[in-house]
Amino acid sequence: MRILSFLALALYASTGFADWQLNMPQGVTSSSNEIYDLHQLILWICAVIGLLVTAGIGYCLIKFRKSKGAVPAKWDENLFAEVTWTVIPTIILVLMAIPASKTLANLYDTSNSEVDILVTGYQWKWQYEYIDEEVGFFSNMSTPRDQIEGDAEKGEHYLLEVDEPMVVPVGKKIRLLLTAKDVIHSWWIPEFGVKKDAVPGFINESWMVIDEPGVYRGQCTELCGKDHGFMPVVVHAVSEQEYDAWVAGKKEIAAQAALASMKTYSKDELMAEGEAVYMRTCAACHQANGTGIPAAGFPSLIGSPLIEGDVAGHIDIVLNGKPATAMQAFAAQLNDVELAAVVTYERNAWGNDKGDVVQPADVAAMRAEKE
């Protein structure tokens, strides 16, 4: 009976509320609305069937008790009944299959898109590249470690916040092209009704038209290693003007970064920037204090061979990664200033005291060599 009341509750709540959210969100795209309607339909059908079955069993258990003097019947067949409970479910299934097929076909229609975004999953962050705009960036979870470990009060958007969200215009058809660099990830925003696997070496497609401006949050849904639980998806849907302004701003920043890489920096500047980059990009594996998690295959960087060795080897592994290990290539993820800074930082932090200062030009030279 308790289950029944739970079910009843589930049905009551057509939209969720705060902590005890019971049902799927209706969402803000036509896809999510269609899926929601379909979900409601099948939920009701299944709930009614479930209730009928439970009620039927309950009736038998009350009515036909030996303690009440029930005498067992001898029959064990009834063709009519058997045909009935084969035919009726078949009809119900067909009734469910029709709207499901229509919705499915619609979800597959990625034609006529107006904005195309390449979404790439990495262990454990997302990269968004706006194909027509030549804008691209990484999106990392920004929830601080101490909140996760319980040393600080957890924020409102605990685990569902990022340093740089995807920004998209409302009312336009956005096509997502999804892929991954290492393992399989899956990009999901419940409010869009969009979830799709990002498979390394392959490109999947999905699309959405967002009706309402707002901040929408989701998570990676395919187990992708240690920090699978810590790679949120956050999307800001904004008006078209705001979107255009944002794109322009992004291009401006890119131009400045190109200029910045021509400069020479002091060691202190590099160490400060390097620490920021390290915490954002490297600490998930090598840990904030550089000790890594050797038991899980993430080496310590304190006095490690490549750091003890010459700078070139160190820059090389950070630029190009090490194939077939979790140490990925950062050449495309970080610019020359960031790379120079993080290498400088690693060589001079946590008791490493190589004293080396790596400049953006050094990194650029190694990049050029590679090409």
């Binding site: 078949t90 899956s186 999901w188 498979v199 290693g225």
Partner: protein
């Protein structure tokens, strides 16, 4: 834990003494007992991982286990429960009951029977050892998707592959044994359509095993090649395809889930009529329903993969095929209901577990139907809704059926009645706590909580805490079952040949406890 006294009485020639009895035995009852004991130990072991998981998820934040440990725990939990607890439990029941139910003196291939059991402790020891290896135990989930399980896997993966091979060999040998026994050793007059449903469901399960396990072996062998021999089956950089892995895995995996539920259908089909004191409704359609579920199970695998980027026609095909399974499953549920109708019902512990199976398996089946609807699955996939679904079919489904079977046949195995009062307490604790554990997970999934995460957003806190309380209660309740069994093995009210007045079948024509050798001369069935 060879605490059982089964067959201790001396007949023509009894069991050997001491450890040798268990090492060298070819007796189906001894082997059945060993399988059951092993599976229960594995159930507690896999359950310990589940307790760890629920403990970590009790509150948001990382408290007890680091994310990498957490991933190892979910992987071990899944592998141990599937391959160590549920499958061997059914093999144990098969070993004990199939010869008794068809009037055969033993399994057809007794030495192979011994071997297929004794492989398992080594397989699970090897799997467990990975916990202490560099890089830790396998951490890629029981579905071990490539390339997380190949290029990015810990070194212990090689041992995991070896262990899976051993489990597979054991299962295949067990399946061959069941098939050969049923085909060749039925008592005179035991025609196909007179066989108890437990025998039928196991026969069909055995064919599923023979078809599915080699595919699993293929998948892990390809992984082994990718890891050590430089092939690229699942590596796009070398021309392979990570999604190929999923196709192969689920071609095994979907039949596998029916391997874990069909024998449960058989157990329930024995117990419901026994305590309703009325013959099973629609025997013939039950047999056909099981056979068609088994056949369909080979053409629905990609419903686990609706989001990998298949063409539309493929999605439609797998959606329709999956929906079809609801028909034979529905027939079974309705037939069981019709069995209760106009019966004369009593509520002993086996019946309580079987009834709970009927209601809660239906619940799991219906959420399965929802998951089969492709577009809706776009939202449900890889969330707690899926976790809720498959735990409903596996715990109050398969595990409850195993417990029902254990209570039902314990008098036959031990010669004593179990403690009915404790059995009922065990049932109610299990029934309530399992629903408190898994029902809220439906809501968590719909609200957007992904599965396999060690920490979650704050809006999921309340239901997670509830689920953890339920889970920990369920875990502790199972210790009561240990006590009930030990108590029953040790002594208690003597059980008659047929302690359940409504029970049917040849197993109830031999004394309780069943002597070490039964049906040396085949009974006549008419």
């Amino acid at each position: 834990m060879s605490s059982t006294a089964v067959g201790a009485e001396h007949h023509d020639h009894g069991p050997a003494k001491g450890l040798k009895r268990w090492l060298y035995t070819t007796n189906h009852k001894d082997i059945g007992t060993m399988y059951l004991v092993l599976s229960f130990v594995m159930f507690l072991y896999g359950g310990a991982f589940a307790m760890g998981i629920r403990l970590e998820l009790f509150e948001p934040g990382i408290q007890y286990f680091s994310p990498e440990k957490y991933n190892q725990m979910i992987t071990m939990h899944g592998l141990i429960m599937v391959f160590g607890a549920v499958m061997p439990a059914f093999v144990g029941l098969a070993n004990w009951m199939i010869p008794l139910q068809i009037g055969a003196p033993d399994m057809a291939l007794p030495r192979m029977n011994n071997w297929s059991f004794w492989i398992l402790p080594f397989a699970f020891s090897m799997l467990s050892m990975t916990t202490f290896m560099d890089g830790g135990a396998p951490n890629f989930g029981w579905t071990f998707y490539a390339p997380l399980s190949t290029t990015y896997a810990p070194p212990s993966t090689t041992f995991f592959i070896f262990a899976v091979h051993m489990m597979g060999i054991s299962s295949i040998m067990g399946a061959i044994n069941v098939i050969v026994t049923i085909f060749n050793m039925r008592a005179p007059g035991m025609t196909w359509m007179k066989m108890p449903l437990f025998v039928w469901t196991w026969l069909i399960t055995a064919f599923l095993l023979i078809a599915a396990m080699p595919v699993l072996a293929g998948a892990v062998t390809m992984m082994l090649f990718d890891i050590h021999l430089g092939t690229s089956f699942f590596d796009a950089a070398g021309g392979g395809d990570p999604v190929l892995f999923q196709h192969i895995f689920w071609f095994f995996g979907h039949p596998e889930v029916y391997i874990m539920i069909l024998p449960a259908f058989g157990v329930v089909s024995a117990i419901l009529p026994a305590f309703a004191r009325k013959p099973l409704f629609g025997y013939t359609s039950m047999v056909w329903a099981v056979a068609s579920i088994a056949l369909l199970s080979f053409i629905v695998w990609a419903h686990h993969m609706f989001l990998v980027g298949m063409p539309l026609v493929a999605e439609l095909f797998f959606m329709y095929a999956t929906m079809l399974i609801a028909i034979p499953t529905g027939i079974k549920v309705f037939n069981w209901m019709a069995t209760l109708y106009q019966g004369s019902i009593t509520f002993e512990t086996p019946m309580l577990f079987a009834l709970a199976f009927l209601v809660l398996f239906t619940c799991g089946g219906l959420s399965g139907l929802m998951l089969s609807i492709g577009p809706a699955d776009f939202q449900y996939h890889d969330t707690y809704f899926v976790v809720a679904h498959f735990h409903y079919v596996l715990v109050p489904g398969a595990v409850f059926a195993i417990m029902a079977g254990a209570y039902y046949w314990l008098p036959k195995w031990t010669g004593h009645m179990y403690d009915e009062r404790l059995g009922k307490i065990h049932f109610w604790l299990s029934f309530i706590s399992i629903n408190v554990t898994f029902f809220p997970q439906h809501f968590l999934g719909l609200a957007g909580m992904p599965r396999r995460i060690p920490d979650y957003a704050l809006m999921f806190s309340d239901f997670n805490m509830m689920s953890s309380i339920g889970g920990l209660t369920y875990g502790v309740s199972q210790l009561l079952f240990v006590y009930i069994i030990i108590k029953c093995v040790r002594g208690g009210e003597k059980a008659s040949e047929k302690p359940w007045d409504g029970a049917e079948g040849l197993e109830w024509t031999v004394p309780s406890p069943a002597p070490y050798h039964t049906f040396s001369t085949p009974p006549k069935v008419d």
